[in-house]
Symmetry: C2
DNA sequence: CAGTTTTTTGACCAGTTGGAAAAATGTTAG
DNA sequence: CTAACATTTTTCCAACTGGTCAAAAAACTG
């Protein structure tokens, strides 16, 4: 009943063009923010005229919504993947790795998200307070259990998650600053390996339970 | 010779109004980014008409430049304050504290900066590659010396600095997300104390030199 | 191929935005 | 008080922006 009529059967062209548009829009939105991006820019990047683009997405907002919606799914996957039955430090290490890979492989998505949050998250506040909060709460319980079992240093689990988000996404969101500071010699992908080493040291040593530092592991 | 004529003696009104404008502009720019902010918005926030505002700052760009310039000075102060003669872990701890305080007390400045970097730092690239890089390089030498002396775990000093920037500024730049995840109970300032505790644990334990973990301290 | 539907285009519009000009009003030093 | 200068307001404009609409062009269907 959603479409009113007998839902048109989405043509091949529709699928392709919509994909083109989203791809172009990701470029433009992530680089300029919502207000900074113009439909003309997106249309040009997608290789079509503005009215033509508007034939596929009725308004600017729709494109942005489609992007954000699509993003959030994959964005939270690494956190979802934390296994309550795994080894605490290994799980955290794996989580950091995955987040770092995402910053490396999907920097535009990260910046799109950062732009949105920076400007007060007007379009996704409900998601933050709902889905995201729930997921973090759920994983916090797991982390806290590990701490209770003495398998992880006792810290605030939610702030721990923030710290992981911050340090990993930094390499996508603040990329230009990172590059500028490291200098042109480091413009390769090596910085991600260096970052991984630092973060391992920081989080794995920093979070190792006290008794484990002498080799003993609590039940 | 900069002013052409015998440099006008900057009246009291000029000083006050410029201050008003910058204060208002910080609000508007930090919340909306450069392109997202309009002169009208800033003018209204500053309690004056648009043409009146333009009497003090000839163009939008000038306001933004003035803000950024002013910001960067204070922004880097905490890093400058790292004392080569201090105790490594204490210096790092103090640095984290200061950065966290800045995130708490000057979130708008942090977001202004974040907005600029996110969008490719078009206006301050030279500063990043110059002043900022130089300062980071200088402090990296100090950090590396501490590591050589066995007073600090061996990590990449520049990525260590990134990690401190990321984790502290996160509380300003991603404030809405942090609040959303923590929920309304934590809307007070307590989150900064919790963050400080986590970061202490993470950085101080994570960076303690190996031999120090058994109580011994290298010269 | 003729008819139908989908896609693309070109012209257009109303609202917003950055900014200019000039006239009007305030302020202040002499 | 008044001339000189500083400040403010009013009016205006050209460029840009999101979005509409009808007609033209393709694409598909039987």
């Amino acid at each position: 009943m959603a479409k009113g009529k007998t839902a048109r059967p989405v043509t091949r062209i529709q699928r392709e063009k919509r994909e083109q548009i989203l791809e172009a829009a990701l470029d433009v939105f992530s680089a300029n923010g919502f207000r900074g991006a113009t439909i003309d820019q997106i249309a040009e990047a997608a290789g079509m005229s503005k009215p033509n683009l508007l034939y596929y997405f009725g308004r600017k907002d729709d494109i942005h919504k489609a992007l954000i919606g699509r993003l959030l799914d994959t964005w939270l996957d690494p956190l979802r993947a934390i296994d309550p039955n795994g080894d605490p430090l290994s799980e955290i290490r794996a989580y950091i790795r995955r987040k770092l890979e995402m910053a490396r492989d999907y920097p535009r998505e990260s910046r799109l998200f950062a732009n949105e949050i920076l400007q007060g998250a007007p379009r996704i506040m409900d998601l933050l307070e709902g889905e995201l909060k729930d997921l973090v709460d759920e994983k916090s319980v797991i982390l806290r259990r590990w701490m209770d079992q003495g398998r992880l240093a006792r810290v605030d689990p939610r702030h721990l998650i923030f710290a992981i988000w911050a340090t990993t996404q930094h390499y996508a969101d603040f990329d230009v600053q990172v590059r500028a500071v490291l200098g042109p010699d480091f413009s390769g992908e090596g910085r991600f390996d260096d970052a991984a080493r630092l973060l391992d040291q920081l989080f794995l040593t920093g979070l190792a339970p006290k008794n484990a530092r002498h080799g003993e592991l609590a039940k």
